[in-house]
Amino acid sequence: MSAEITIKQGMDLPMEGAPGSQVRDVRPQGPISVYPSEYKKLKFKVLVAEGDKVKRGGAIARRKDLTDFLVRSPVAGTVKAIILGDRRSLKEIVIEPDGTDEQESFPSFAADQLVKAGRQDILDVVISSGLLACIHERPFDNMANPAHTPKSIFVNGMATAPFRPDAAVLLQGKEAEFQAGLNALTTLSDGPVHLNVSSDLKGSSTALTQAQNVQVNYFAGPHPSGNTSTHIHYLDPILPGDVVWTLRVSDVIRIGSLLTTGVFPNTQRILVTGEGVKSEARGYADVLTGTALSDIFQGVLEDGDQRVVRGDLLAGETVNPAEDGVYLYDQGFIAIPEDRERILLGWYAPTKDQFSAHKVVPSAWLKDKLFSFGTSTRGSKRAMVLTGIYDPYVALDILVDPLSRACIAGETEDAVAMGILESVPEDFALCTFICPSKTDFGTIIADALAAIEQEGI
């Protein structure tokens, strides 16, 4: 049974800086880093000391609350430094590769046997390899809790936010691993595994559209038709007490690769693009997990002040390309110009170079034009005045005005009744984008979700 759903809400941003589909190889020039700090809210205990030798796939840290979860080294080498962050939390472990490929081996399965494998057997491998981090859990979008059995599993094979990697490019040459990963997922839930892909792919990308043992669903329409929350909302919405697990195509490939080869998968394909990246370099890169961003961005950024964002432009975090590295969960980095340009009487100037969804701005009347998007707020922060303008940008059955007010007022019970648990902050990114008062809905929703999680539902 396959569903076909067309989303009417939302908007695609006509943004310059789209990538090509070429893939380059990036070799790390120096040491690589593992970042337990990428798993927010979790605490880790380090298992190695500086100078220790580790294998590829060797354990270097463990979760304090789930001791079976081990953080693994992507390469064989020597531990060079252990860096602590705030409140002595484990931030980063630096490993100098020694050029050998000594490997820790994990239990492996034949790809077609995975559907019949025991749930616990597969979970054990996924947990101890640290790849449980590739499986997220809703509500709250945390790392999956293996004590929960999800009512269904959602694999996101879409990319509507600017810029998320195209599933078809991620899958090139990885079709077998992907199918193996899907097979493994079917054992983890009593319900179906939903693979959600864009309607545009019908008849092509057979790895996605002809995937076995899962339910392939098609979504059409503008962003956020590619958001996982949208898929869940239409296919199997989250009721109080429900848990669903969510993955992306890259996560499934990685799990499939581990389970079929027994080797810790240490490369990942990431998207490097945006207007701040030189046009010839906009594309995909195969990198080693933990590669320094400086290796990826060397000679690639345009001149001038560029902001590099981990994730996508609607829901990503700013990183420092000189210091940070590639996280296990990463699938893209986008650079756009830092825009502090002040425009004379810009609040009413008939601008046609800056995109707007509002018909008060002349540029909103231009069709089929790509715009340059800098990081400017394009206006000053003000009290919320306009109402009812946000709902057309959210694909969930949620009234944005009352929900955001309930969140601001700390009325968490009301917020839950209004449907906040179906959402994650990225679902409100377009509201943040279009708000004339420059309200940050993502932060409002994130704070409320954090409060709800802490209080318990």
Binding site: R342, K359, R378, G379, M418
Partner: protein
């Protein structure tokens, strides 16, 4: 082009020089909101995005608010011409020509607008400084809306008192723009209406006249509503009777008649409505709901039994009463159009949900007709209807949200099989 760049750079440099004096620890720290307002008026702010979303739309609240002011300009221009026209008309000097009428109209209207902006602006800035919030561009709208609801003969001290009440009690005591319950401009209007009725009602145009004998209803400035209230449910052929007094649908539509500055003519208001709707700034749901509510209630009122009176020959004849006035008259009489287009659509005091906006609009139309037809105390009901629904808006929203939650839960229950 290079000239503009030069100007821009000069301003930017000057502002950057001055900025430290207005920031924390500076000499004029307290005046920061004033500096911010001036700074972001001249140049877009240099701020960059924080948080998860890294790009923003080019729209700014200033542009949104100023669009409302632009939408009000046709009404203002008509109001200026009409004031000049009435001045000469009532003085028996109809043939002075367009130019003189406009000049006279400006002499009458501009002081009112300037007083409103100056006094209201003073309070806005004072509260911004004391309460340390930014100066909100919403005042640009309030400062223009309020004078357009006043008769042109209003004394300036009344304008000053009214706008002070509107800004301070109508808005700032609640925490400023975005937090007010009532529409500030209409609050100011209501305050003058109840506290200083003689200036707002009765013979408001007499100052212009050589012979002051016609009583004009002040709130609407439109005599028909005044007559209607006076007639009550007396049986007369209301439409014919109005026509006898010189009021047909088309005279009221055209609006070359006494009344408050901005509301007499339909065409400039419809022009403003078009600007608000096309630009997406004003809620078409509220406007459409209001018109639908007004028409529906007017038709219901038409169904009330007609009255009976004696003909010249002493025979009893059936004649229409005020409740049978057709809905087309309700649309153009008084200030309904102005109210529903510019006042009811204030997003802060209206219902915030889109379903709620429909209900809110419809009820404004309903209450307007009820007050006009059934209430002997007030000839016109638009102001009271909007203020009443401002107060009711949170309740409407509450029930809309509860209804939405119910609908959501019903939808979600369909999926609960998956829980086993």
């Amino acid at each position: 082009m290079s000239n503009l760049t030069e100007i821009k750079e000069t301003i930017e440099k000057k502002h950057d020089e001055l900025r430290p004096q207005f920031e924390k620890g500076g000499k004029f720290e307290k005046m920061y909101p004033l500096f911010e307002a001036q700074d972001t008026f001249m140049l877009t702010p240099p701020d960059t995005t924080k948080g998860l979303t890294h790009v923003r739309d080019a729209v700014d609240l200033k542009r949104v608010m100023f669009t409302v002011v632009v939408a009000l300009l046709p009404c203002l221009m008509w109001g200026i011409f009409n004031a000049g026209h009435m001045y000469y008309h009532d003085s028996g000097m109809d043939d002075v020509g367009m130019f003189m009428k406009i000049i006279r109209g400006m002499m009458i209207v501009m002081p009112i607008i300037i007083t409103s902006y100056a006094v209201g602006g003073f309070w806005e800035v004072l509260f911004a400084i004391v309460r340390k919030h930014e100066i909100n561009e919403g005042f640009l709208v309030t400062g223009m809306l309020f004078p357009l609801t006043l008769p042109p003969t209003i004394p300036l001290w009344q304008v000053a008192v009214g706008i002070s009440f509107g800004v301070v009690v109508g808005k700032e005591v609640f925490g400023g723009t975005g937090f007010n319950i009532l529409n500030p401009a209409l609050t100011a209007r209501a305050y003058l209406f109840f506290a200083h009725a003689p200036y707002m009602t009765g013979n408001v145009w007499s100052k212009f006249k050589m012979d002051a004998d016609t009583v004009v209803d002040g709130y609407t400035g439109a005599t028909p509503l005044g007559m209607g209230a006076a007639w009550g449910n007396e049986a007369k052929d209301v439409v014919a009777e109005l026509a006898n007094q010189g009021h047909t649908f088309w005279t009221m539509f055209r609006g070359l008649e006494p009344g408050s500055i901005g509301e007499t003519a339909a065409i400039p208001i419809l022009l403003g409505a078009a600007i608000l709707i096309v630009s997406g700034v004003g809620s078409w749901r509220i406007m459409a709901g209001g018109v639908a509510g007004l028409i529906g209630t007017a038709i219901l009122m038409n169904l009330l039994p007609s009255g009976e009176s004696l003909s010249a020959a002493g025979e009893p004849v059936i004649r229409t009463t005020w409740s049978q006035i057709p809905f087309t008259y309700h649309l153009v009489m008084g200030s309904f159009l102005f109210g529903i287009v510019f006042m009811a659509t204030d997003p802060v005091s209206a219902a915030s949900t889109n379903t709620g906006k429909w209900i809110y609009g419809v009820l404004i139309g309903v209450v307007t007709v009820l007050v006009r037809v059934t209430n002997p105390g007030f000839p016109e009901g638009v102001m009271l209807a909007i203020l009443f629904m401002n107060v009711m808006a949170p309740i409407i929203d509450y029930y809309v949200v509860q209804g939405h939650i119910k609908k959501r839960n019903a939808h979600l229950r369909k999926f609960s099989y998956a829980k086993g």
